[in-house]
Amino acid sequence: MKSAEITSTKSKTTTVIGYLVVAMLPIYLAFGLAVAEPHSEQGESVRLLFVHVPSVLVTYSAFLVVLFSSAMYLRKKTPYWDLLAGASAEVGVVFCAVLLFSGAVWGRPTWGTYWEWDPRMTSTAVMFISYLGYLAVRRMDLNPTVRSRRAAVLGILSFVNVIVVHYSIDWWRSLHQGRTFDQGNVQIEGWYLFSFSLGLAVFTLSGLWLLIHRFRTLYLERQLDLVDLDSAIAERKSEAKTKVSP
């Protein structure tokens, strides 16, 4: 494709991922909402497992990418790592919002409350707010290099929240149930495991699709900034030339 023909951030990869998500979505919904049987204790609300746990895993993965990209940016100083960190943080925040919402909605029929200041829920809310803060730092009106460096440091420090969230149920007494995947032991089986795997595939592919698109959008934003900078420099040069010439 020629540059002039490019009118969106899509690529061959995102097209393939998009078709895969569209193909898997009805199967995932059929298994998640119909085929998997109601749980003996939780009843129909167990179906929220297929939304909540995949969103947790995608959130963790996205924030892990932020950690890695931030470290790489500090090491290499190339803007692409900074853009990847920014894109991944935004995707992670979206999935974190989904996990908080689905968790609250699941909590009502299971525990009788949408929200409890329990260690797992509180630490997840803190993680969500800390990455919102990270995104706010990325929008600060600063020298781009300084802003990227500060964001990278914050992107590394914020990952402490992910560790706290993950181990919160071990470190403190928590209302929250144990991990679905505990040190390689899968706590679900049968259609539950199958429906969950489908959910994980759909959520992971959606997250990847969003990450690629957002990365390319951030790339375009950076190109626009550079165009503005180039025209500002050209303007200053022509001003200087006018002053010098008699």
Binding site: T7, R47, V98
Partner: protein, 45 residues
């Protein structure tokens, strides 16, 4: 035990959250592509 309203709310919430973000990203991408000069779009090939 019938808690379908919570199940539907959970699935819908996820769809609306992720879906609206996806629409925003795509629209922003299209808008920016129009603004960025052709020679600077090369990376998107």
């Amino acid at each position: 035990m019938n808690n379908w309203e919570f199940v539907i709310a959970g699935y819908l919430g996820a769809a609306v959250g992720i879906g609206s973000y996806a629409v925003w990203v795509i629209r922003r991408g299209r808008r920016l592509t129009q603004k960025v000069p052709v020679e600077r779009r090369r990376f998107l090939d």
